[in-house]
Amino acid sequence: DQQVKQNSPSLSVQEGRISILNCDYTNSMFDYFLWYKKYPAEGPTFLISISSIKDKNEDGRFTVFLNKSAKHLSLHIVPSQPGDSAVYFCAASGVNTGGFKTIFGAGTRLFVKA
């Protein structure tokens, strides 16, 4: 089952505008959430994270918002730049009876047009 969902396979945004990438999760065991960016032929690189005790974390142009009651998080990129064009993965981490797990979504491909 898909415990972490990124329902938009792709997103196209004009340079300078805001990019909003969304992610939903289903399992309450998750208490730490991360966003990774991936360029072709490279492994994912860490972007930003948020603990479940917070509802917002900001790092430069990147802000992650967490709505625990809705089991929803979003990544905002402002302003968007052409170099931001990549695949963005949402990931959720937590511990259950099976031990520790990190579950990734399927990814959203972001295109930033110059």
Binding site: P44, S93, G94, G99, F100, T102, F104
Partner: protein
């Protein structure tokens, strides 16, 4: 400083064979996680090791096994290969038990099963 390294970069096997994939974490990192990524999907969690002990396991059959050595490098073993095991296998390292910490990914090993 060297990042996470994985070997080999590409591998072709036939059904029923066995494969061993290797990963060297970033110096000082004590945790290694393994992921399987098939085309169009996000990385799927296979194992996490910390201080040579398994800390988490994903929903993969017992044909998949792993271990971590005293120098924190790791091997992923897959027995009785199936066509569906064809994927990019990613290794990620972190200083502490991963998931609650930024993970650094290697470039992956592309496994093709014929």
């Amino acid at each position: 400083d060297a990042g996470v390294t994985q070997s080999p970069t590409h591998l072709i096997k036939t059904r029923g064979q066995h494969v061993t994939l290797r990963c060297s974490p970033i110096s000082g990192h004590k945790s290694v996680s393994w992921y399987q990524q098939v085309l169009g999907q996000g990385p799927q969690f296979i194992f996490q090791y910390y201080e040579k002990e398994e800390r988490g396991r994903g929903n993969f059959p017992d044909r998949f096994s792993a271990r971590q050595f005293p120098n924190y490098s790791s091997e992923l073993n897959v027995n009785a290969l199936l066509l569906g095991d064809s994927a990019l296998y990613l290794c990620a390292s972190s200083f502490a038990s991963g998931g609650y910490n930024e993970q650094f990914f290697g470039p992956g090993t592309r496994l093709t099963v014929l």
